[in-house]
Amino acid sequence: MNNTFNISRFALVLGKDFQEGWKRYSLQFLVMLGIMIVVLTWISLYAYSNIYTYEHNGVTYSSIDTLDLRLLLAGTVMFLGFGIVFTSTLMEPMRSKIQRISYLSMPATDFEKFFSRWLIVSVGYVVAFFIALWFADALRIMITSMRHPGVDVSFLDLSKMIAPEGYTGQSKYLSYSRQVFVVLLSLYIFIQSLFVLGATFWEKASFIKTFSAVAIIVTLFILLCRWAIIHSYANDGDGFGVMIESLGDENAQMLVLTCIFLFLAVVNWVVAGLRFRESEIIQRW
């Protein structure tokens, strides 16, 4: 018998998780959908009720031109917010001693159990988010069209996530280059991995505890960086900027940042997996 990974056993673990927790997942999906509908519809109704024009570099634009950007910004914030909240439920089947007995004694490897949970909170969440986004956007269009019957309301344009190469016009794209978008994506993956790791430390109130820990660590890190810059560059921000620029062109810097975020994300996932493997039904320490 394969005691490391078996795809059919993994499918059983995943199927069991889905079928035993479908009510909880459905409720979480509906809450996410409800919030999305309210936020997107409110932004859309407000935009169509307050249309104005303005000039930029001699070109006249309508405020509606940036509606997609506003919707995408709201969507991005919700994607991150719901993502980290949902990721915090990674250890949901291990919240109490009784649940831990049931989950840990299930005949599957610790890796299969962890990976199934990881898949649900990582990939499963992304799929659920975009399904909810599509529904919420459709409802937004329906409600906005009813409120403004003469207006042609279009679906959210996801291509506005990244500006086309060489674009210098009015700001209506979420990120001005593909590299920036990839950095943002890798930053999300890194943040998500922090909450995966946090969930293995705190099985109860994981989101609040991880959020607090991350806030403290980030604050300390920023203060440390600031202290280091002050001492190394005699409080000369420009000098530090010159040093950063000397490291390479913007694309190279973006690539380095992406690699750092992804590497740290993998480290966090691996550490979380190892912590899961060491889980016991009673937390002794």
């Binding site: 018998m1 005691n3 078996n6 056993r9 059983l12 199927g15 069991k16 079928q19 035993e20 927790g21 009510k23 109490s96 001693k97 009784i98 649940q99 831990r100 007995i101 049931s102 840990l104 004694s105 299930m106 005949p107 599957a108 490897t109 610790d110 060491e278 016991e280 039904i281 009673i282 002794r284 320490w285």
Partner: protein
């Protein structure tokens, strides 16, 4: 079947086992007795890999249980004192969980449910059952999984009066030469006639580790007697009819094993009982 080698385990502030060794063989029903906090449940959790020892190893059929290999877990079933069943119909519960146990028998489960007069609940949501009914369903599933080792912690807690007698018949009818059952309980009357081998843990020692036959060969259980010489008795306690006493079985008389008397006698006269069954301090806890 189970080999415990030099096991050391402690909770944060309390040492439970230190250099503890023990062997359990197959085809027997073991009774694990001890006062509150003696380490009975801890030992059961260690045997199933749900707790990890600081030192030493526990082997089940030659495999280290701490690794929680699926090949080991699919051959062990633990019915803990508290357990959780999902809010899904029994049929779906069986469909989701039975594939993890290769020797699971659906026919046997139907028989077991009939035994507990629960054969009409297949379509009922498990969440709608009473605690006692849930326990009966869970034990029926556990036995139908046909694992080589079945561990039960306080199995008769929460069962109604008919349920307790059904339980005894139910365990006896599901026993095979390849299967071992370990029952940890304080309700000794409920399992008295079932148990074939008794282990008593107390104060870092295995006070008794002997078969029921061996115990009845060496000890005589006098129940409700009016006249007992104190110097002849290992233990005496008053009862409604007179006295219950534990005596040396010098004349090879037959008597019925009384677990309560044996337990109390072992605790109050541990040195004599231990020496009687040639227990060395290898199994110090």
């Amino acid at each position: 079947m189970i080999r415990i080698e030099n096991l050391t385990f402690r909770y944060k502030k309390k040492a439970i086992f230190s250099d503890f060794s023990m062997n359990l063989s197959e085809g027997k029903i073991y009774g694990l007795l001890g006062k509150n906090g003696a380490g009975k449940s801890t030992l059961l959790y260690l045997m199933t890999g749900l707790l990890q020892p600081q030192k030493g190893k526990i082997y089940f059929k030659g495999k280290n249980v701490s690794k929680r290999y699926p090949s080991t877990l699919q051959d062990i079933f633990i019915v803990s004192e508290e357990f959780s069943l999902p809010n899904i119909p029994l049929q779906r519960y069986i469909k989701l969980n039975s594939p993890f146990y290769p020797n699971f028998s659906n026919e046997q489960l139907v028989e077991n449910l009939k035994h507990f007069e629960l054969d009409s609940i297949k379509d009922i949501n498990l969440g709608a059952l009473s605690m006692g009914q849930k326990k009966k369903v869970f034990m029926s599933f556990a036995l139908a999984s046909n694992t080589s080792l079945l561990i039960m912690d306080e199995p008769t807690n929460g069962l109604d009066i008919p349920g307790k007698s059904q339980f005894k018949k139910f365990i006896a009818s599901n026993m095979t030469d390849e299967r071992s059952v370990i029952i940890s309980t304080h309700q000794v009357q409920d399992v008295e006639k079932l148990i074939e081998h008794i282990i008593i843990l107390e104060n870092n020692k295995t006070l008794l580790n002997a078969s029921a036959d061996d115990i009845c060969d060496k000890l005589y259980f006098a129940t409700g007697v009016r006249d007992v010489k104190e110097e002849d008795a290992l233990y005496i306690s008053p009862s409604i009819q007179g006295y219950n006493a534990l005596l040396m079985n010098k004349d090879n008389n037959e008597s019925l094993l009384n677990l309560e008397t044996l337990f109390n006698a072992t605790l109050s006269n541990s040195e004599r009982i231990t020496s009687l069954f040639h227990l060395n301090n290898n199994s110090n806890i």
